[in-house]
């Protein structure tokens, strides 16, 4: 069972061989987990995310105000979070650990505190 600390905004697309169509795009594949994350100055919600190693995941980012970024150097993933659209990032966590992420598009006085962590478990 996947472990999640991410509250009501997080949903798991857990069933095998299910494809979900949103906005005309197929966004989920076999055992793919979908996590919705909102970004606004100067926080992510949720800001702590727990994933399983080897299980594909889609991070769906929505900005509530302006351009933000998501950069998790420890896992080698990043993307721009542009307002007015859902920004999807697919990846497969390939190592166990806790990896900080941060906004890497300067967004104002609290920018440097706009951070979170992804914990990947076995």
């Amino acid at each position: 069972m996947k472990s999640m600390k991410s509250g009501p905004l997080v949903c798991g697309a857990m069933a095998a061989f299910i494809l979900i169509s949103i906005g005309g795009y197929l966004i989920a594949a076999e055992n793919e987990q979908v996590i919705q994350i909102t970004a606004k100055r100067f926080e992510y919600s949720p800001k702590e995310i727990t994933l399983k190693k080897g299980v594909p995941v889609v991070l769906e980012f929505t900005s509530l105000d302006r351009l933000h970024g998501f950069n998790c150097p420890g896992l080698g993933i990043r993307m721009d979070i542009r307002p007015g659209k859902v920004n999807r990032l697919r990846f497969v966590p390939n190592k166990v650990g806790t990896f900080p992420f941060h906004c890497d598009n300067f967004c104002g006085s609290g920018h440097e505190g706009m951070t979170g962590t992804i914990t990947v478990t076995e």
């Binding site: 351009l67 150097p73 420890g74 721009d80 890497d104 598009n105 300067f106 104002g108 006085s109 440097e112």
Partner: protein
């Protein structure tokens, strides 16, 4: 300006830290335009964050920059020019307040005796409005100039909020470098590091490697930057990068703490970790002598 070399050495001190800035050495230095009198030095000030408030971090937030200006003015030999490497002001979401801070900063900087003062933005000055307010006060955010045989390039890696230089500016850099010989002395000023110092803390430039790739064929390249509020030295092959202290609050060493936060004020050592530097360019050497100074002008 000409300077008496003995006076300069007295100013800089025998113990000045000298950093190799190229593999070429003296033999490869283009000497065509250099004369003995052309030794010079400049002063780098950085990260003044005018408008910052936080008594636990800097109870003299409005006095620190003024003290540094006074200290520079009190240098026995005045530098040929002064370079501010960004984050002149602390960021604000209010456009009017940003302009007010830039104006106040400009007023304080105008008290410097040396009138050849150059500026570049940090992300706090330019990241929220793509540099519009900065340009109103200080002009271009990227430019180049020559001084006594050294080619200086100012790169803007902050006006684009994605921490990027951008393709248009990289094309400009490419064209500018084409005019230089492979053994030209080149100094680059940036705000952010061009290399991946610590991406977890956003201490990098997303397309910085493109710039360093362009600079790599040139034998004598040195980069001076700010952003990280502390002295730091790094090599990318033969390209040397020197980060400067700030003049508002120090930041911890890269990755030394879980969360990057300003280092609190130490009442027993006020202004610790803050300061400015002088950089001496010597005629016959492809390296620069760097001297660090406290806010009050004591040589460290």
């Amino acid at each position: 300006m000409k300077m008496d070399r003995r006076d300069f050495l007295k100013l800089a001190g025998v113990g000045s830290v000298v950093f190799a800035s190229g593999l070429g050495g003296i033999g490869n230095l283009t000497k065509r335009a250099l004369a003995a009198e052309d030794d010079f030095f400049f002063v780098q000030l950085s990260d003044t964050h005018w408008g910052f408030t936080g008594p636990a971090i800097n109870p003299d937030a409005t006095g620190t920059l003024k003290k540094a200006v006074e200290a520079v003015n009190n240098l026995k030999i005045q530098p040929d020019f002064i370079m501010f490497t960004g984050d002149l002001t602390h960021t604000t979401d209010d456009d009017k307040e940003r302009k007010k801070r830039l104006s106040e900063f400009q007023g304080i900087a105008s008290k410097l005796k040396v009138k050849k003062v150059r500026f570049m933005p940090g992300e706090h000055d330019a990241g929220l409005d793509e540099g519009r307010a900065f340009k109103q006060f200080f002009g271009k955010t990227h430019y180049a100039f020559d001084h006594k045989g050294v080619h200086f390039i100012v790169l803007d890696n902050v006006s684009d909020p994605t921490s990027s230089i951008g393709d248009a500016q990289l094309e400009w850099l490419k064209a500018d470098l084409k005019k230089q010989k492979k053994d030209s002395r080149i100094v680059v000023f940036t705000h952010r590091p061009l290399f991946d110092l610590y991406p977890d803390w956003d201490w990098h430039t997303r397309d910085g490697a493109k710039a360093t790739d362009m600079l790599m064929p040139y034998a004598n390249v040195t980069v001076f930057y700010g952003h990280i509020h502390q002295e730091h030295h790094h090599n990318t092959a033969h390209i040397v990068h020197h980060a400067a202290k700030g003049l508002q609050y120090p930041l911890p060493a890269p990755g030394s703490v879980p969360v990057k936060k300003p280092v609190p004020w130490d009442a027993n050592q006020p202004y610790k970790g803050l300061g400015f530097r002088s950089v001496e360019a010597k005629v016959k050497e492809t390296r620069y002598a760097i001297s660090e100074f406290s806010v009050r002008g004591e040589k460290l």
